[in-house]
Each structure stands twice: as C-alpha cells, then as structure tokens.
Amino acid sequence: MKQKPLTMTRVALGSLLRKPATVPYPAARKPVYLATRGHIAIEEDKCNLCLICDRRCPTGAIAVDRTGKTWAIDRLRCIQCNHCVDVCPRKCLAMENDYTTPMQMKRSDVVPVPFTPPQPKPKPAAAPAPTSDSPLQAKEERPGERNHEPPDQSSAD
C-alpha cells in the first residue's frame, strides 16, 4: 500500500468550512433520551417506607427512616443503577433523565414521607428481619461516616 502525504487535509479543511460539532453546553444542551439514567426521584405520597430500596441499594445510598418518616438519598453515592426502581413494590421511585448538579458540600436529599401506617394489618415489608444493616444503624452511621478531616495542608510559603 502506498503512503500518501497530507491525507488529513480534506477532513481538516472540510471541518473548517462546516459548522462545528460542538453543543455549546450551558447555552444549549444535547437532548436526553427516554432511557437516560439521571437521578432518582420519589413520589413521596405513594411511599410506604417499606425499606426495600434501602436494603437493596448496592451502594447504600438510600436511607429510609421509619420513625422520622423520611426517605433520603445521598446523591454522591448513587450509581444510577436503577435497581431501587426495579424493586420498589409501590412503583413510587422513578429514574429521571437529568443529572444531579455538582456540589461543594456533601449532603443527603431528605424527603419527608406523609405515610400513616394502617393500624390493623401488619406491614408486609417489615416482616424479613434485617440482619446486620438495620435501618436504624444505617442511619446513625451516615452523618459522621467517611467524613474525613482534610489533611493539614501546609501551603507552599
């Protein structure tokens, strides 16, 4: 096969004359698709605090507090795997298409859940006894955990 010089010239000059392929992001943005996995949202009215999402989350990003009646997600732990959406028995979780914005402080998004447990019949989700990662324990370790002190930064001068 022969070597040819300047084979890229046509591509380069062609691109020079065409419109750039750039989507100027903050001004315009690429459309998202129906399937795009962005972030988890909850319809808190439907939630019955069954704890299934809490237990099945592969990274432990979701924390459900039955006594305080809150559903919380740590966006910095969520891997958008969609697993909680798949396992949610009441279909109150959904995968939204837009991603979470960056943040300067670590925080959890806490959603209060207006759920009043019906008195007579016992809740089905409470039946399997949690072994090591009980919701209470998981909740307690959340604030302090992995919250390392930044190492002493000795500035250069």
Binding site: A21, T22, V23, R29, L76, M103, P151, A156
Partner: protein, 158 residues
C-alpha cells in the same frame, strides 16, 4: 478582571476508577463538548495546572501520587472529585483496598456526582471551581500580607 475564570488549566488524574469517568473527562475536551471554549486546556503537567480533576477513589498505592500532584500545583488551586467513587468511594467502598474518596487524602472543593459522571456534570463542576479559584487567590493575598508586610515572592530551595 477575574482571569482565573477565563483561563483555567486542568490536570486529570485517574485514581482507582473504572475508567468510565476518565473517558468522560476526555470526552469533555472533544468536539461535542469542547471545554476549550471556556479557556480550559488539559495540560497534563501539575506545575501548569489550576484545577485537579480526580476520578476514582484512593488506595494505598495512589495516595502518595495524588498528594504529590496536589503539592506540585502552584496556588491557587482547586480539586474537583469527579464521579461517585472520587466523592465517597462509590460502589467499591466495601473493597479491602480502598481508603475512601479523594477527601481522605487531599481537601476536595467540588464533588461531581454521577456514575459515570456525565460530561455536562463535569463541566458544571469545573465552572463552579472557577469562582473558587479567584476567591482562593484573594484569600492567599490577604493572608500573605497579614504574615509579612514585605511580600516575599520566591520559595527558597537549596
């Protein structure tokens, strides 16, 4: 004029990540996203860089590397943890060889969530970092003035 807003140069270090965020960081440089619009250059040299993008968490072996890169960067500098592994250890935080997110080793200024972090997210994170750069420069200036009335310019080295 806020010059750091106009010309942030980045350096990218791949901690122990799965490469997903790395290729998204690189994708930011390429025509679809083209961060050079914002004056961003991927220098690859810590001494030229203003913003350190780290993907992936830290393990024993990479800890000194990350620390060295951070210390080699001249002030003002900002650290952006890209992806959930860099932010919190992510799905690998239960592995035996993790030390946690980047904040276990160096102070992190911006956390970019996502697995893998989308290029738009990374750009948002970098844009947030720009304001911090200018603020850090001013802080540095006032601190220096407070310590010594005559500004010393060079770091003496043997």
């Amino acid at each position: 004029m806020n010059l750091f807003r106009k010309s942030p140069w980045i350096i990218h270090y791949d901690g122990a990540s799965c490469n997903g965020c790395d290729i998204e960081v690189l994708a930011c440089l390429t025509p679809r996203y083209d961060v050079e619009r914002l004056g961003i250059i991927n220098t690859g040299n810590p001494k030229h860089a203003d913003i350190l993008l780290i993907t992936g968490y830290i393990n024993e072996q990479s800890q000194p590397v990350v620390r060295t890169i951070y210390e080699q960067m001249p002030d003002p500098k900002v650290v952006v943890a890209v992806g959930i592994c860099a932010s919190s250890g992510g799905i690998f935080r239960d592995c035996y060889n993790t030390k946690g997110g980047v904040d276990s080793t160096i102070p992190v200024d911006i956390y970019v969530p996502g697995c893998a972090a989308r290029p738009e997210s990374i750009m948002d994170g970098v844009v947030q970092a720009l304001d911090l750069l200018e603020r850090k420069r001013k802080e540095k200036k006032t601190r220096r003035r407070a310590i010594a009335p005559t500004p010393t310019s060079e770091v003496p080295t043997p």
